[in-house]
Symmetry: C2
Subunit: 381 residues, 2 copies
């Protein structure tokens, strides 16, 4: 019914918009994708990160903390469409590009709730009105990438692995690690056998560090890990953190702010002001590095290289602690492979949008747990 | 980019699913649409109404009353996808049809919030996970029909007029009236000049009558208007009802349960148990008929015929009161024109889905107030 051949017959310019669970910015990229002789190619042309307006950020945090009504959520869908429209306009101006050259816009939407194993019913909610954004821009918008996979019994995450598989596989076993709000990894076998690809959320990425930086230092994040580096790990609390059920849980698994949030920190530190702020950050950073290491050690075949991307790449101290735990693995920042580490997730969703418009499934069932491959998302006209 | 020609080149079987603001049932139809020599045709093949499961109904009422969290709403989207999947299966079995013969499913979704002139931002929210429904059925699903029009400055409603215009226009001025939860009318000029089409919500349809029947008689609706017929209009309250701002408001306008709800009744009757239940129903029925009449008298050019559809058609007493107010107009039930009056809205959304897949705009800007025509909704792959 769909002339996917037409879509794939020419290089296409996609805008990708990613906003993560840490609400630390709006990542926007412009990338070209093409399909030649059965091989896929990408070219990351431009990338920028923008701030959310303070009102929108506040509305999102209210939603993430569960304090939202049907009216609030309805408004948030449209507020995000309006905000993303403005940002796309600014972005294209900054890049000296015109909207005319853009074929479609892929937008992840702001995750408000994600409960892929929900007892009542598996579900997920990424706020954004696709039709509103599409109508204002007068461009096809692809969005809501996680719901179809969840309806097919999958976790709706991670979705980045198809990108990793297509563009990062190599002749040695590799792991791709993205440290966003949460951390997720993809195992890429040297055999390039897709059914052996593994991927899951290891647990926290920047989320706990960011919350604590905000609370204790009034900073949105721990710049280069300076705060944590000056602290000492609180061993008793670290021990307790290491028994977090999620870290030990078998794969596939995915998580979000439902679990790793302010309450999680409070539950472990009880009275935060009994501790040195630097020690708290050192402990949370250690736990974050450890939880990545622990999952790699237990669930991933021996690998030679770890390709890291995401905001967490800039936290030198976190990367050092990770290298400490994984002495035999070569850590490579994705920038060194031509993939701007900050841009990777936005690029992946631009790619997923391109795949969907080409009628190509974007989920890897062995990774998400879904019953079958499916073309992800919804699109406007 | 879209081969809309291919879609329009053959007759297509669409399932349409409509659930209104009164949550009184799930209307499902199977209809065939075709496009021949620049003319559109429809064939309503099957129609049934199903009950919501009691859990789902309760969840929707919680949402409509504003008592909903992000988690509840996320779950509701998937609960509706699951419930509609079951109902489509039962529906097709009852009709001796197979899912294979269905080309696509158009689903309105359950309106949870509708604020097209919202001060913070115009917005609307119809609960349903399109991608979940599409993935389970493995069929394209078209949904979220109202958002694009709202983003373009329109009311996102009414959307039925394009159907009325295409299939009900005649050589005399006609009005099409649908009495669902709310009442909406379309004026169809004998000239068939699309820019002269008018349409808007007149105010309550069955909503006030249903709420009062439920509360006072433990019945979901006033069957044939029997309760109201036995009562007397409470003139002082009727007078006050007639000054309801919405009835007098200039067109275009649209409304919903945000305005016409339990509180609206309480505000006017203060202590309900001071009045005879029959008198309360008589008064609310009179107000409903009057508000339709008042809007026709003030905003619609002289018309010869009124085509009525929707659940309100079965309320003989309401139809009588309407005829009383409009003695010079011939009232025709849409059944007499081959359109099952109960099926009309489901049929319209099946039609809107078919239009969208054919790349044809579904809104009439002179009706909704939108800046321009646009192809409505989002679709799954």
């Amino acid at each position: 019914m769909e002339p996917t051949g037409i879509w794939l017959s020419e290089p296409r310019n996609m805008i990708g918009i990613m906003t993560g669970t840490s609400v630390d910015g709006i990542d926007v990229c412009l990338a070209e994708f093409s399909f030649l002789e059965n091989k896929q190619f990408f070219k990351l042309k431009h990338f920028r990160t923008f701030e959310f307006s303070s009102n929108t950020k506040e509305a999102i945090f209210h939603a993430l903390n569960g304090r939202i009504s049907a009216a609030d959520l309805s408004r948030l869908n449209f507020i995000l469409a309006s905000e993303f429209t403005e940002i796309i306009t600014i972005f294209l101006n900054l890049c000296n590009c015109s909207l005319i050259s853009v074929d479609a816009v892929a937008v992840h939407g702001q995750t408000i709730w994600h409960e892929p194993s929900g007892e009542i019913i598996p579900n997920t909610l990424q706020a954004i009105s696709g039709p509103a954004l599409g109508a204002i821009l007068d461009k096809p918008v692809i969005y809501d990438f996680r719901s179809a996979d969840i309806a097919l019994g999958g976790q709706g995450a991670p979705l980045v692995p198809i990108f990793d598989y297509e563009f990062l596989s190599s002749s040695v076993n590799r792991i791709a690690l993205n440290i966003g709000g949460m951390s997720n990894i993809t195992f890429l076998p040297s055999s390039k056998d897709k059914s052996q690809v593994l991927a899951f959320d290891t647990g926290p990425g920047n989320v706990l560090i960011d919350i604590a930086s905000n609370l204790l230092f009034s900073k949105d994040y721990d710049d280069h890990g300076h705060f944590a580096r000056k602290g000492e790990v609180l061993e008793i609390i670290f021990s307790a953190l290491k028994s977090t059920e999620y870290c030990l849980r078998a794969i596939p698994k995915s998580t979000g702010r439902e679990l790793f949030n302010m309450s999680f920190i409070n539950d472990h530190f009880n009275q935060l002001n009994n501790f040195s702020p630097n020690d708290i950050l050192a402990t949370l950073t250690e736990f974050t590095a450890w939880s990545i290491f622990f999952n790699i050690k237990h669930y991933i075949p021996n690998s030679k290289e770890l390709i890291i991307s995401g905001g967490g790449c800039h936290n030198d101290f976190l990367v050092e602690r990770l290298q400490f735990y994984l002495p035999e693995i070569i850590i490579i920042k994705s920038n060194e492979l031509g993939i701007n580490s900050d841009a990777k997730e936005a690029l992946c969703f631009a790619y997923l949008g391109w795949l969907s418009l080409g009628g190509i499934p974007g989920n890897i069932p062995s990774v998400t747990g879904a019953k079958r491959h499916c073309v992800l998302g919804a699109r406007t006209f």
